[in-house]
Symmetry: C2
Subunit: 721 residues, 2 copies
């Protein structure tokens, strides 16, 4: 039998086209990142060939031997198939075939898995999800060797494993297969690709149009409902990078086999948008750690290899080669080759872009706003998390913000309390403190009323509500986002408006943040700012606890917070400066007159040291009617103890004042040098409304929700206007 | 007038030889690091030429305008002189000359500086030290232009500034000039080099042989007394990198002008040794932060540019090109050129070397032992700080240890409590917590008796005492250091023996640490281990304080420590595991039966947040007679939350036991897999004593203080024996 390279076109191209396969196989000078992916696959297969095939009877749950072994076997079939096609070495084909024949001999007689626990059990694995993933990999590997197997081998493998598995995961698990859920996407991808490879249209039609053929379930329905029109996945970026993979893989297979479906044009290019959104929700290559996120997770995750390759094919965006460099390898497809080539030159991470990623299938369930200002990958980035709840892994963090600057997290999000796969940390599961602290509102830079969490900490209640995006506005010198929610608490309306601005093209961007809480009755309002840094200056009025610490409260996360000390803010104003990564950050506050500032640290009631001892500052006031807490976060100066130089350790802003005019709030910031910056925030966010107000001797005129003026009334957020 | 390049040899070569100058000037393809140093100098001079010369009347103390301006002017004379010689561009010569003429016009009439405060005032600067530094730089620059000035200009400059300044700093400040102190070395270097340039042997003789010409003071005396025979400078590495500079510069000038003095052979090559010691006391390019050290300081400090260049010339050690890469530039001399060339290839930081750097002029005042094991720059490094006090910046940390592993600090030293040049942190001075915490014994991984600091916290008392080095022993699989001190406390003898070993060539190095405290009466003994990491496992017997924290004590640093919780160690044994930089570290303890373990954090009684919230574990016992606290620190496994893989989060060592045999302690470590490692520590440290002991069924035979055996009695620390 000839090598695959001489046997002509494959029956069903999935992710590796015949053209790409020839191009790669004939290339003696493959780009580094491509070669790395290829070499890793070769190593994996060599190990498998050496240790020999083992296809154990299904027995263990996740983590156990039989579970892990089946996972590896699926991967090896995939690797060996691709390698056969790209190298023509027949031992790769034989190894993939021999593994599949063993599965074919076992699978038909398998009952449901003995360790099944959930509603969607598998046969090979305890969960159908794992079985779908296995199928997605194995069918790709099989596809690459199929033409060079005998008819008898093909029949044995298809009748023994691929048909029964595809049918088990579709008609055999209809409830799971009909779900609009990421798990069903894996099933659709596996079943649909099996249809293409076996030439059985029933499978691919079920997968794409749903079991009932009416589009009420299946891949298209998932594509329409699981992502927002901007490509945001409701659980947040940490889960999005995982959810994305079957979408990317199956969409490529559909495009190759049924180009008339124009899958990449679906919903105005939702596949490309979902990939782009995943990548946009990162700083320094790490995902924004919203919801139950492991903070270390970034674009170098293997789940994003296909995404980066396809994203580059669909958009040519230079962010993908930059990501490929961080990933260090790519997939064994034509898209991977093109990406690896592009990554050889000019692959610097671009400047973060400002954007709003709306949440919800129709894009009307809040959203995540990203405000970026400055040059290069380390430019300041503010994230306003005004999305929906994001299901059970969602946090109670409505209107929370994060801020990154100069390559560091400055205003932080705790992420999840979990040590993945560390047995001594409750077997690597989510820790109790994930629920009791990390998910709670007070663990976030979000307004807390009456020391309670949003939706009383009930995520199912949270699913029913989301903030309303009032507006976002992006320009070179002024970015803004404003959102409001009236049902996070029974009798409070929360509104937050965050401006990122720079008074000049070369100035450091500054955050101006206005939180408003409208309550019927007098209730405590807390606004934490969790920060990463060491305090260099604090208000004199604070009484720091030097000889004893006690928790800040007894529930809703407060029990996990040490009160390091607090004190009244004189006239509601105060300034805290800290140092992070060689730069100073000053947080100026302007709160109601009777407000206090508390310094806090996570770690109380934490007998196993499950929490990191993160620090925060909390503005505490008692609201009745409209309570407004205004803060300005100003980066400044440089601290270089190695070079023994320190510059501008004191902030430039000396004074912060607000004035209510008719229909607008004027925030007046006076610098030490005597200059004035005036930010105006209109009550009516409409872009078309013209504002024309007298402020002292000045006349302030602008359109839309926000604008910036200097002390003479000259507009300064429009360099060309 | 012709360019310097055509004017023949200079009268007095200082650091730039005529050959080197020609080689550099004629080189159109200078190596990157050399070009960088050159370009930086060009930028500085261009700025000075543009802004114009200003030579203000001396007025301000350190930090003020006139102070900073004179410093810059000295640097510019230096830069411009070198650049004239290397480029031949006459504007450089003119700029240096014009600045010097201004100083010549002013200097003769200057009284002592108005802001003088200490015993050694200057005229241009408030301290003579700054004046010496100015002279060291300016005389070098002058030397490079001198031949191409008119005789009148030369006379004016020499009579106006160089002669009066050299005489002021020598015969005019005899008390300072006669000191055996780093400040006097700067004066000697300035005065001596002035002698060479002006051809006045009196100056260079004063500088080298002392004012009295008998060698009782001056450079040679300083060279003989300020460094130990191994090149250790008593204040520790942070100060050594600063003290080193005038030694390096003046030694090079002496070598160029008086080769017969064989200055580089003095004390068996003490200059090269001092440079090598400075570089050896680093990990990942940062200096070991002993004594009042700023932890960020590393080999990239500008003070070490000359040192690295000369070190490479004298030894050819490949560590210097690696350091040059970290420095990013080099000096404008032949040595700099050679170093920059070498740095273009093969400049990886080498594996840390094990060594003992003895302290004291005769090398008999304790020392710093460095134990390195493993490959590459990230290999495990243990530092035993058994040195003398190190004067007023010394810490009360006798027998303290530090441990680095995998590129991270694991057992840490706090360093200094200071924010250099940050006005809000007490003007950048040492903070009160430097004295009340950072210098105290309890802030170190050192034994504390009766909750008091060594020498009752009196550094002048500390100057009179030092540990006795019992032995050091270095081999591929077993490094050891043992030291003892009987006068850190009135009635306690402290002995510490630290072994770094690996049971196999590929195994991770493990620390075995034995602290013995001999007291007459029953006294509390505490042994802290300050670590950098997050706890993943702690002894069940500890009662962690969940709802309130109080300080551990009221004085001697204890008042700055929060007691996070404590509890009895069952039979004196316990195990704590933490995670640092993706690796697990388990600290196994074996202490007397009634011992406790406390978890602690710095930060109590710290109203301005001057302290970092570092964490520690403290073994607490009550000693009477001989108290022994044995600990094993075992690195293991890997935690990679991004890749979602965790391996070996549990330590291998399951059980720790000691047996006293005749004249030796046997420490028996049993692994989970059932293997046994036996470390023997002989009471008599002599290398020539043969030990032959029965231990159960085994016969253990070895020479010298320490050895390692497996469970069958086979020696395992000698791979070839
Ligand atoms: Zn969160
Ligand atoms: Zn210290």
């Amino acid at each position: 039998s000839g090598s695959s390279l001489s046997s002509g076109a494959m029956a069903a191209p999935l992710l590796l086209s015949d053209t790409a396969a020839r191009q790669i196989a004939g290339n003696s000078d493959l780009p580094l990142l491509f070669q790395k992916g290829l070499n890793d696959a070769k190593k994996r297969v060599a190990t498998s060939e050496k240790t020999g095939i083992d296809v154990p009877a299904p027995k263990d749950p996740g983590g156990g031997y039989s579970h892990e072994r089946h996972k590896v076997n699926g991967q090896i079939v995939y690797d060996a198939g691709y390698l056969y096609r790209l190298t023509g070495e027949s031992h790769y084909r034989d190894h993939a075939r021999d593994i599949l024949l063993r599965y074919a001999a076992m699978y038909p007689s398998l009952p449901l898995h003995p360790e099944r626990k959930n509603q969607s059990p598998g046969r090979l694995f305890w969960q159908a999800l794992n079985e779908s993933v296995w199928l997605v990999y194995a069918i790709q590997g099989y596809n690459e060797v199929r033409d060079d197997l005998t008819a008898a081998e093909r029949k044995q493998i298809e009748d023994g494993v691929f048909r029964p598995m595809a049918e088990f995961l579709s008609t055999g698990s209809p409830e799971m297969f009909r779900k609009i859920h990421n798990h069903a996407t894996w099933a659709a991808a596996g079943v649909g690709m099996t249809g293409y490879v076996l030439g059985d249209e029933r499978y691919s039609d079920w997968a794409i149009d749903g079991l009932d053929g009416d589009g009420s379930s299946g891949f298209l329905a998932q594509l329409d409902q699981l992502f927002s029109p901007d490509g945001y996945y409701t659980e947040g970026p940490y889960y999005q990078r995982y959810a994305l993979l079957p979408f990317v893989v199956f969409a490529q297979a559909i495009d190759a086999n049924e180009p008339d479906r124009k899958i990449f044009e679906r919903r105005d290019g939702i596949v490309a948008k979902a990939i782009a959104a995943t990548v946009a929700m990162t700083y320094e290559g790490k995902f924004f750690p919203v919801n139950d996120a492991i903070k270390e997770k970034g674009v170098d995750t293997s789940e994003l290899l296909y995404g980066a390759a396809l994203g580059y094919r669909l958009t040519g965006d230079p962010v993908y080669p930059a990501i490929a460099r961080i990933q260090g390898e790519t997939v064994m497809t034509g898209e991977g080759l093109a990406l690896a080539k592009a990554a050889q030159t000019n692959a610097a991470m671009p400047t973060p872009q400002s954007m709003l990623l709306r949440d919800g299938p129709q894009g009307d369930q809040g959203g995540m706003a990203i405000l970026g200002m400055g040059k290069g990958a380390l430019a300041q980035t503010i994230v306003a998390k005004d999305t929906g709840q994001g299901m059970g892994h969602g946090h109670f963090d409505k209107l929370s913000i994060m801020l990154y600057d100069n390559g560091h997290e400055i205003l932080t999000d705790y992420g999840a309390a979990r040590f993945l796969n560390v047995p001594s940390k409750q077997g690597g599961r989510y820790l109790p403190e994930n629920d009791s602290f990390a998910q709670q509102t007070v663990a976030h830079n979000a307004p807390v009323v009456n020391e309670e969490s949003h939706f009383a900490g009930d995520w199912k209640e949270g699913q029913k509500h989301w903030p309303t995006m009032r507006y976002t506005r992006f320009s070179d010198r002024l970015n803004a986002v404003s959102a409001t929610i009236d049902d996070a608490y029974p009798d409070a309306v929360l509104t937050r408006t965050s401006l990122q601005f720079r008074p000049g093209a070369e100035a450091e961007p500054i955050l101006l943040d206005v939180v408003e809480v409208d309550t019927d009755s007098a209730q405590p309002v807390d606004l934490p700012f969790w920060f990463n840094g060491q305090v260099t200056n604090l208000p004199k009025s604070l009484s720091i606890r030097t000889d004893g610490l006690t928790p800040l409260g007894v529930k809703n996360g407060y029990q996990h917070i040490w009160n390091l000390g607090d004190g009244a803010l004189a006239d509601g104003t105060g300034r805290l400066t800290w140092l992070t990564g060689g730069r100073f950050y000053s947080l100026h506050t302007l709160a109601p007159p009777a407000s206090k500032l508390a310094l806090i640290r996570a770690g109380a009631n934490d007998p196993e040291f499950n929490l990191r001892p993160e620090m925060g500052a909390m503005v505490r006031t008692r609201g009745s009617g409209k309570t407004r807490i205004l803060t300005v976060l100003e980066p400044h100066g440089r601290y270089d103890p190695a070079a023994e130089t320190t510059v501008a350790s004191e902030p430039r802003i000396a004074d912060l004042k607000t004035v209510r005019l008719d229909g607008a709030l004027v925030v007046q910031m006076t610098t030490k040098a005597g200059g004035t910056i005036q930010a105006v925030i209109a009550d009516n966010p409409s872009e078309t409304v013209r504002h024309d107000l007298r402020h002292g001797k000045l006349r302030l005129q602008w359109n839309g929700p926000v604008a910036l003026f200097d002390g003479t009334g000259k507009r300064i957020d429009q360099p060309d206007g």
